[in-house]
Every structure is written in C-alpha cells, then in structure tokens.
C-alpha cells in the first residue's frame, strides 16, 4: 500500500508539473497581453513597454521556452509572478482560496448530508411516491445550469425583499460595503450574503449525492449481512442504520473527497453570478484581462487541488474498506 501510494504521488506530481506548464504555454499562445498597451493615446513609449512586459515576464519577443523556464523556476521558489495589477500571484491565490472556501464549505457539507439522507430515504422507500418525487426533482436540478438556478433565486429574493419592504436577503459580494457595527452585525451581514449561494450549492450537490447514495444503498440493502442482522433479531431500523448506512457511506466519503476538488472549478459560475472574488472568478477574469501569470497560477492551484482530493479519496477508501487495504 505504501509503495503504491508513493508511486501514485510521484506520478501525480509529474502530471501537475506538465499540466501547469501546458496551461502556461496555452495561455501564452492564446492571450495577448501587449494589446492592452497598444493603441493608447498618448502612445506608450516602446522602451517602457518592453520594461513593463519584462516585469511581468510576458514579453512576446522573448522565446516562449525561455519565459516558461523563467516562470517554472520561479514557481519552484514559491514565486508565481505578478498579476496584472502588480500584486504577487501567490498572495492573490491565498486570499481568493480563503474566499472560495468560505463560499463552498458550508454549502457542500449541508448538500452532502442532505443528499445522503434523501438517498437513503429513496432507497428504503423505493418505488413509493416520495422516492419518485425526489428522483424527478433531482433530474430537474441536473437539467438546470447552476447560473440559472442562481438567477431564479435572485428573482425570488428580490420579490421577497420588495414584498416585505426591507432588504432581508442580499446577494451581491461577500459583505456590504462600509458596514460598521459589532460582531453580530458583521456576522449577520455575512450570513445574509452567504444564504443564496449556499442554497444553490445545497441544491446541486444534494441532487447528485442523493442519486449516488441511493444506488449504493440499494446495493447494500440486497446484501446478505442485512438479512443476517435481521435474522439475529435486530429491528429493521437498527439493521438499516448500523449495517446498511454505515457500509453505504464508505463509497460516499471517497466520492465527497473527490468532488470537493472538482467543485472549486465548478464554483466559478457561482462566484461570478454572486460577485464573489474567489478562485474560479480569478481564472475567468484573468483570461479577459490577458493576465498570463494569473491564469497559469490558478490552473496550477486547481490541478494541485484535484490531485490532492483524488489521493485523499483513495487513502480514505483504503482506510475505511479493509478489503482494498491488502
């Protein structure tokens, strides 16, 4: 197991290095950072233009391979280059990762718990009306793009605010600008801003978790050890909880670990719609501003996150399920 894990991690590190270099090359080829400075009035002096481009390490006159090497050796020393506003990318990433985490953590945990409960409930009450209602609802959520759910909720929130004549739910940014007050005012303000994005996350993640959990649970319900537990006198509920749900949660936990990595990429839409300045937003805006260093840095961050979470999900699986440990 240990050797296997080490080999796996080495392979992942190589993959990350190549993937982020690839992202850098792709970004350098498709983005044109010079365009921002050309065509200005008065025109930018060519000499200072060269200086600016060299400062960011994006001068198109320098061969691409040399720029790549410069960027990569910087990354090895923890220097991710400068963003377009001259802030170091590493600091930008830390700040924004924290914001993304605030946005994602609560919603994805509630969503996972709700999904598990709904999945177990659906499996136990298979074919009943409640099961098919949950199934159809999850199909509808699947068929709705995240941003559409978000905007529908915004319409509803605006209608609600108007109906009660008071700004109860706010949904732009992380907190109200210039708010002052004690801890509770601050906290309440942040909670009000978190409400809608969290609902969206809960809906989308509960939809997928409930489908997955229902399938796993149905597998478990047919297993012999459930019948054994019933035969030795356990009540139906105890057999389901102690022997059914606990086993069915093993694949779920690995699924959760894995999807948390990919969630950050998927949450970019949520961040844009609700104007949160997180990691996903960084990537999309940096492409619009032709910020090559920010694109490469955020892609590297995402790749590392995905690889960490898939390693974590493998380790978790081995730790929880004795059958794969050997």
């Amino acid at each position: 197991m240990f050797v296997y894990l080490v080999r796996r991690i080495v392979n992942y590190i190589i993959l990350t290095v190549i993937a982020s270099c690839l992202a850098y090359v792709l970004a350098s080829l498709s983005l044109n950072p010079t365009a921002k400075y050309l065509g200005r009035n008065p025109p930018v002096d060519p000499h200072s233009l060269q200086n600016i481009l060299n400062k960011f390490g994006v001068n198109p006159d320098v061969p691409l391979i040399e720029r790549l090497w410069h960027w990569f050796s910087g990354v090895l020393h923890g220097d991710f280059g400068l963003a377009i506003n001259s802030e170091p990318i590493s600091r930008v990433i830390w700040e924004r990762a924290g914001i993304s985490l605030q946005l994602l953590l609560i919603g994805s945990i509630i969503g996972a718990v709700l999904g598990v409960v709904l999945g177990v409930w659906g499996a136990v009450r298979q074919y009943k009306a409640s099961d098919s209602i949950v199934t159809y609802l999850s199909y509808i959520v699947f068929s709705t793009p995240t941003f559409v759910i978000a905007i529908f909720l915004m319409i509803a929130a605006t209608a609600l605010n108007r109906a009660i004549g008071h700004q109860l739910i706010t949904f732009t940014g992380q907190y109200s600008a210039g708010i002052s007050g004690g801890f509770f005012t601050q906290f309440g303000d942040r909670a009000a801003h978190l409400l809608l994005p969290t609902i969206v996350l809960v809906l989308t993640s509960a939809a997928s978790y409930s489908r997955y959990q229902r399938n796993v649970m149905l597998d478990v319900l047919g297993a012999d050890y459930i019948r054994t537990a019933r035969a030795k006198g356990r009540t139906r509920g105890a057999a389901l909880i102690r022997h059914g749900v606990r086993v069915a949660l093993i694949p779920m936990s690995t699924f959760f670990a894995y999807s948390f990595g990919t969630l950050v990429a998927g949450a970019s839409m949520l961040e844009i719609v609700f104007s949160w300045h997180g990691m996903g937003e960084l990537l999309l805006t940096s492409i619009n501003t032709s910020d090559i260093n920010a694109v490469a840095g955020s892609t590297l961050f995402t790749a590392v996150l995905i690889l960490c979470s898939s390693t974590l999900s493998e380790v978790l699986y081995a730790a929880l399920d004795p059958r794969v440990r050997s």
Binding site: N11, L15, T16, I18, A19, L22, A23, L26, A27, S30, L31, Q126, Y127, S132, T135, Y139, I140, F142, S143, T144, P145, T146, F147, V148, I151, F152, M154, I155, T158, N215, L218, D219, T262, A265, G266, S268, M269, I272, L283, L284, I287, N288, V295, T299, T302, A303, I306, L307
Partner: protein, 313 residues
C-alpha cells in the same frame, strides 16, 4: 462494477425478462439483446415522456418559425422592451428583437451543437478507449497517461483558456472543441471493457482466423459495448448543451451575431429582475430540453442494466 458485469453477461437474467402474454408465449422465439432492451424501454413511462418532450421541442424549433411573423433578426422598433403580448409571444428586448423568434433560433443552435458534439465525443472515446484497451502495452500506458493529464485540468477551464482561438472562428469550432475535451471519462470505461472483452473466446477466435486489429475492434469490440456507447451519446447531448450554454453565458462560447440559448440567457440576465421574460423563457426552454434528454438517457441506462438506477429491485 455491476454495470460492466451486466453488460458482459451473455444471457440476461431470466427473472428480469418481462412477463409474456399467452399469445406471445405461443410464438415465442429467442429474444435478441436489442429486442429485450427495446421491450424494457417500451414499458418505461419515463422514456416516453422524454421522447415526447424532445420530439415536441425539435418540431417546435423547425416548424415554429413557419407560423410566426417575426424572424430572429427582425426588429420591431414600435414595441421595444415590451412584455409578452399577442403580437410578441415572449416579449421583446430593449432594441425590439422578438424573444420568441430568438429563443427558437437559439434552440436550433443548441440542438445542433448538442446532437453533433455529444455523439462525436462518444466516437472519440470509443476509438481511443478500444485501441488502448485492445493493444495494451506502451500504447495503453501512454493513452491512459494522456487521459489522466486531461482530467487534471478541468475541461471548462481548458475551453475558457482556448476560447480566444475558437470564438474568432465560428460556433462549428466550438462544437469540435467541446467534444475534444469531454471524451476522457468514457474512454476510460471503454478501455476497461475492452480489456476484459479482449480475452473472450470469440475475440481470440477472430484473431486466430487472421482478422486484422482494426477489423476486430470494429466488428467484435465496438458492437459488444454499443449499448454503453449509445447511453453515453444520449447523455452527452445534454452535457454538451449544458457546457455550451455555460460557456456562452460567460462570453466564452457562441458570439453575437450568432444566437444560442446561452447568449440569450447572458443577454437576459442583466434584466432578469426588471424584465423577467428576457430570461425566464429561454431558461425554461433550456431546462425542458435538458430534462427530456436526461429522461431518455436514463431510461435507456435502466433498460440496458436493470440493476442500476430507478428500475432495480
């Protein structure tokens, strides 16, 4: 996986076969696998709901414009920013474009993109996966490694990154790029299926009879995973429409003057709170379309593999 086991089973479980009427039992002949799947599919209400909705949307997309006076490019300068009326069924936007006509035009574009990109990505997955699984060795290793590499970078990010290139071209290239970045997971499934098929007797026999590798893959491997591929292609249509919509919504996909459901939603978002018809109608059409496709794909998956999804028990 239970999925692969069922797909590879020679004969489906007798208990899973549908009940036969006495008349049917009289002229009973061995049921082919395709016949069995069709029989199960036919008795799934979800399948018919999905097919009905989808057929309605396709018919609407192509017949709808015939009976409606406004085209997607027409401007009615006397009725700008109007809500739904008898004249403009879905209302008009701030420059007098008719939303009903635009929604139909966007629906056509989204349908074409989905129906081309979904099957295309399945095709890539089938070819890459079966070649890797069948040849094994260094080819398999390198293909598996490329798949891993592409999975590390989220495909949405890759598409956004490449969007400066393909938005200058046309939406046809968007369709191609969508399928180029979405075959990886299916290719892994095909690869593992092929690896187990490769050592089956009928494949060995074909090999010893001197069939070439491409022939074996085309005649023996692909037909044996056909049902899996059809499911993937169906669900792929929905996935591709979803990706296209999201990309266009954020300005990385279809660019004006071309219209898709994504660009319509993107245009309507700003006014979603004040003039909801700009957003709600295209959004509703999109949701119904994706819902219909997922019902079809899911019913098909249950018919192929009764031990998965809603049909089992």
């Amino acid at each position: 996986m239970s999925l692969s086991e069922t797909l590879l089973a020679e004969e489906p479980d007798a208990a899973l076969e549908p009940e036969l009427t006495p008349a049917e039992q009289g002229r009973r002949k061995p049921l082919s696998r395709g016949g069995l799947i069709w029989r199960r599919l036919r008795s799934t209400p979800r399948f018919w709901v999905g097919v009905g909705l989808f057929a309605f949307l396709v018919a609407w997309a192509y017949l709808g414009p015939l009976v409606y006076p406004y085209g997607p490019d027409d401007r009615d300068i006397y009725n700008m920013g109007m809500g739904p009326t008898m004249m403009h069924w879905f209302g008009t936007d701030s420059i007098g474009m008719d939303i009903y006509a635009q929604t139909i035009s966007g629906l056509q574009k989204s349908l074409v993109i989905g129906l081309v990109a979904g099957p295309l990505s399945t095709l890539i997955a089938a070819i890459v996966g079966s070649v890797a699984g069948y040849l094994g060795g260094i080819v398999d290793k390198s293909i598996a490694w490329v798949i891993d590499l592409l999975l590390v970078l989220p495909s949405f990010f890759l598409l956004v990154l490449l969007s400066p290139i393909f938005t200058q071209l046309s939406w046809v290239f968007l369709t191609l790029f969508l399928s180029i970045f979405s075959w990886m997971i299916m290719a892994q499934v095909v690869r593992s299926q092929t690896r187990s098929l490769k050592n089956r007797e009928f494949v060995k026999a074909a090999r010893f009879m001197g069939m070439s590798t491409p022939q074996i893959i085309a005649k023996h491997i692909i037909p044996n995973i056909a049902s899996l591929l059809i499911i993937d292609a169906t669900l792929g249509v929905a996935a591709m429409i979803l990706s296209e919509t999201s990309l266009s919504f954020f300005g990385f996909g279809v660019k004006p003057p071309a219209v898709s459901l994504g660009t319509l939603l993107s245009d309507g978002t700003g006014a979603a709170l004040t003039r909801p018809w700009l957003f709600v109608f295209p959004a509703a059409v999109l949701i119904v379309l994706l819902f219909a496709i997922s019902l079809i794909g899911d019913a098909f998956r249950d018919a192929v593999d009764p031990t998965s999804g809603a049909n089992r028990g």
